[in-house]
Amino acid sequence: MAVTRDSMVKGFDKRPFFGALSGFDWLFAALVLAGAGYVLYRYGAVMDVYEIIILSGVAPAVIAQGWHWKAVRAMLLAVALLSLSAVWIYGASLDAAQTSFLLKFLISSQSAIMWMSVLFVMATVTYFGALFLRSDFAGHVASAFTWSAAAMGLTGMLVRWRESYLIHVDYGHIPVSNLYEVFVLFSVITALLYLYYEGRYQTRALGGFVLLIISAAVGFVLWYTFDRGASGIAPLVPALKSYWMKIHVPANFIGYGSFSIAAMVGVAYLLRERAGRMNPQGLFATRMPALDVLDDVMYKAITFGFGFFTVATVLGALWAAEAWGGYWSWDPKETWALIVLLNYAAWLHMRFSKGWRGRPMAWWAVAGLFVTLFAFLGVNMFLSGLHSYGSL
């Protein structure tokens, strides 16, 4: 046949990728690039080469993310606006936190994280309300709460990053270094992952289930703040002073967040499945997504988590090779990361190759949460090892 590919495709073009981008997309990209450029210009001199590489990777990733998932753009811009306002009001000293109304009640990191907590709890209640009252409006409100909570949480983290430098330049570090900080990270990441699925699958019925686990994390943050005074910013121990922390920890939490979502969708699956058998006309059977959709969300969440958890574990090994003198030490945290991976690898093989679906896989996903939870928290609480910071 004498047709070349080029001549054949003419007139059959799918929407070209770049042409499909809106003005807002381009504005968003420009703002992200400008922000990253400004950071490089302003702080480039004190960043090491790896940090520059990380920043150079993060900016395009954020742009790609915003183009792929349009809803996130507005939130990211709001977060940028809020955190820059906080940075601007602070100026060069923390004192403003006492005098500025805005900081004191809204966007100092403590206040922002408190708002995040409140909003997440409200979102949980509203999602369930929407499900039980069959109210689409309530569903919209719940989504709005979740978006706002994630925005406040992210703002809280970014402002905290700045605050750590204001306490003392020596103290400055990305806030992913202790249990308090990573719980906030966990809440935000899990919420964002959930919101993505919510948009993709056009269903709000799962919101309550996923938000339940975020609310539990929020409960922990509150207890940790008020009972243990854990919200203070402490300087880093030398072992944590590394660019590796900036990528290893977030990668881990994308994994934890995904696995948590998978487990909560598993719970929803089991309830939906039971409702389908016992009460096919009831609320659950009619309002919840179909079983194969639930199964699909669960699978997608596990694969996504598996990918990122693999990356995180490998990054951890590379970091360990630099900080502890070996890429693998059978340290409890390391070992539990492996256990988590092996567990989900078995799950994936079971599903993919044996074609298992349905209830057993949902139960297994729920059980997986306990394995994950132990890797995340149990190790810190019950076992000691090289990862001994962040102990309870």
Partner: protein
């Protein structure tokens, strides 16, 4: 006649099938996960003594024979791991060729019947010729990024399209990656060492020996393939070995070069927490080689010829301490001592000889600053710790600060004491005089033991107008003198506590309160008399109020000396700070293999998940004047996503075909 035998499978084929089976794979994945848990729950490679204490002798032996104290190199664990590697390799071996073929196979021969059986399918009839329709189908699929093969069959045409062929590479990357990681890690593991131990070529040294005295059987030569060991090197010292901690002892691993710690530095945050520590190293590598220098710090090791040198921690490397031993028991001269951290020395004292064991020296001690100082933290200067052991082996632990410390507006030399490591220190505070030393306090203390000075002070007290009124006649004066001397002796023996005991024993209940108050007043008077004598002629301008405060503090300090428990007050006069870097040296030749495996694994996983293989077929068959089009698709992952995309694909195609 023989019936054709079913092809008999060889034992090898059956074994291969078993090893490559999914059931085995899943079982092994779960088994490794479960076994790994053990090593995290049970602390690994502790001295055996700890396990015996924890489990008792019976269970200790049981667990030991199961290898639970070093699970990850226990034979059974390695067997499971080997099975997992073998199973994965066999899996790749069996599936790999098929998958590689599959990447290039478009399956143009798929039958119409099969296409109809697909979940995603559509079927139309059009009046156009197959050639025209085929053209549109091809263009449509190309515009969606599919790659095509067209095959003209006898009575029909098949357009076979595929996307994501690389998905199969994902499978290969993931599974080969796992195998490669395990193989690399095995190379770096301590299997050869375990083997050498089993065959008796190597024995763990359980005694505490200097490195030079470790016997050859506990030494590993410098050409060991892989190891990971620790060594503590004081500033200025050079070593050519590291220690490998193994269960209840060590092995000495020799290095092919010598490492010198030229300098060690530590930086602190304002709250005293270490911010970074770093060390200047020099490597001497054989005759005629120029020494190499590099500075290492946490997270920044030195990679030298396949060896990696890390700074793990730091400790005192034997700081030299010059001390003044002021006597606190009996009358004795001040002695000057030379101590060294980590060493001990013997000293004869009033209550028998004691061994001083120097524990640690700290140059900085950052504490929260007092309120109102405008700072959050302050450094209160060097201190050192030591244990004082008597002949029966009982020891008290001390912590002495070099510089005077402020406490409620006044200044003291401070020493803490405790009788067990878990207790808090209780502090002895000796007031410092105008010269900043403890001379005046010590003169006061010496005066208390000086019979002549005591007699004169007592005399003076007895003749004071107030006392004189109480004891008008010589007989009573004599009794009072005797009493005061007695009280003073009691005070010397154990401070006010002993005085109170004495009062309680010697006075009837009803007089106690009133008389005791008087006694204490007399005693105070006499002590003050002695103090004034000790403080006289010091020069400078000291107010009366200063004297009174100093006197009170001194009396308080003297009052608790018995509990302090040391015959001396060791004042740090001078020091030479020597630090030691704790280094870790590792050799892991499998590292680059492991990293390659990591790369394959990650690439593989993402390709497998996010580049699903999708196949679409269009089968065109002329029937009568019409052409029938069977359009079907399948995928190996993400069937819901594909169903959506397929719907778009086929509605789009249908629209185009109808528009012809």
């Amino acid at each position: 006649m023989t019936t054709p035998a079913r092809p008999r499978r060889t034992a090898g084929a059956i074994l291969l099938e078993f090893l490559g089976s999914m059931n085995l794979a899943i079982t092994l994945l779960v088994a490794v996960a479960f076994s790994s848990v053990i090593g995290t729950i049970l602390k690994q490679n502790e001295p055996y003594q700890n396990y015996i204490l924890e489990f008792g002798p019976f269970w200790f032996e049981v667990y030991k024979s199961l290898g639970l104290y070093d699970v990850y190199s226990a034979a059974w664990f390695l067997v499971i791991m080997t099975f997992l590697i073998t199973s994965t390799s066999v899996c790749v071996y069996r599936n790999g060729p098929r998958m590689l073929r599959d990447m290039r196979a478009y399956r143009e021969d798929t039958a119409e019947r099969s296409l109809r059986a697909f979940h995603n399918k559509a079927e139309w009839s059009f009046a156009h010729t197959p050639d025209v329709l085929r053209e549109v189908v091809m263009r449509h699929l190309l515009s969606y990024g599919y790659r095509l093969r067209v095959k003209q069959h006898d009575d029909h045409t098949v357009v076979a399209a595929m996307k994501g062929a690389a998905n199969r590479l994902g499978y290969l990357g993931t599974h080969i990656g796992v195998v490669v990681v395990c193989v690399g890690a095995l190379l770096d593991g301590n299997l050869p060492l375990k083997f050498a131990e089993l065959t008796g070529k190597v024995r763990v040294e359980t005694r505490q020996l200097p490195s030079t005295e470790v016997p050859a059987i506990s030494r590993l030569s410098a050409d060991t393939a892989s190891f990971r060991g620790l060594v503590t090197i004081p500033e200025g010292a050079t070593v050519n070995y590291v220690g490998l901690k193994l269960r209840d002892g060590i092995l000495l691993q020799e290095l092919p070069f010598q490492v010198k710690v030229a300098d060690f530095r530590i930086e602190q945050y304002d709250n005293g927490q270490p911010k970074s520590f770093e060390s200047d190293l020099v490597i001497y590598d054989g005759e005629g080689q120029v020494p190499q220098k590099q500075t290492i710090s946490v997270n920044h090791p030195w990679f030298y010829k396949g060896y990696a040198i890390y700074i793990v921690s730091f400790s005192d490397g034997g700081s030299k301490l010059k001390l003044q031993a002021w006597p606190l028991a009996g009358a004795a001269p001040v002695q000057t001592l030379q101590g060294e951290v980590g060493k001990s020395l013997k000293l004869a004292g009033a209550s028998g000889p004691r061994t001083i064991e120097f524990g640690d020296f700290r140059l900085y001690n950052v504490k929260p600053a007092p309120a109102g100082s405008g700072k959050q933290f302050q450094d209160i200067g060097p201190n050192f710790t030591f244990k004082l052991r008597d002949e029966s082996g009982v020891a008290l632990e001390y912590e002495n600060y070099m510089q005077p410390q402020e406490h409620e507006g006044r200044w003291y030399l401070v020493s803490g004491v405790r009788d067990n490591p878990d207790a808090e220190f209780t502090y002895l505070r000796i007031p410092v005089d105008t010269a900043g030393g403890i001379g005046r306090f010590m003169r006061f203390r010496a005066a208390l033991l000086d019979a002549q000075k005591v007699r004169m002070a007592v005399q003076k007290t007895v003749q004071e107008p107030m006392t004189a009124g109480l004891a008008p006649d010589p007989r009573m004066q004599q009794a009072l003198t005797a009493l005061l001397e007695k009280l003073l002796a009691q005070f010397n023996a154990g401070g006010f506590e002993t005085v109170t005991e004495f009062v309680q024993q010697s006075l009837p209940q009803e007089q106690r309160a009133e008389t005791a108050r008087l006694y204490v007043e007399f005693l105070h008077q006499t002590l003050r008399e002695l103090y004034d004598g000790a403080a006289a002629g010091e020069g400078g301008s000291i107010t009366q109020a200063d004297h009174s405060r100093f006197f009170d503090d001194a009396v308080n300090a003297l009052g608790v000396l018995r509990d302090y428990g040391s015959p001396w007050f060791l004042q740090l006069a001078d020091f030479q700070h020597i630090e030691a870097a704790v280094l870790q040296v590792t050799h892991a030749p499998g590292k680059s293999i492991v990293y390659t495996g990591f790369g394959l694994l990650i690439m593989g996983v993402f390709i497998m998940f996010y580049l699903p293989q999708r196949r679409v077929w269009a089968l065109l068959r002329q029937e009568g004047g019409m052409t029938r089009v069977v359009f079907a698709g399948s995928t190996n992952r993400d069937s819901l996503g594909f169903a959506k995309d397929f719907a778009e694909l086929h509605t789009g195609l249908e629209a185009r075909l109808r528009a012809l």
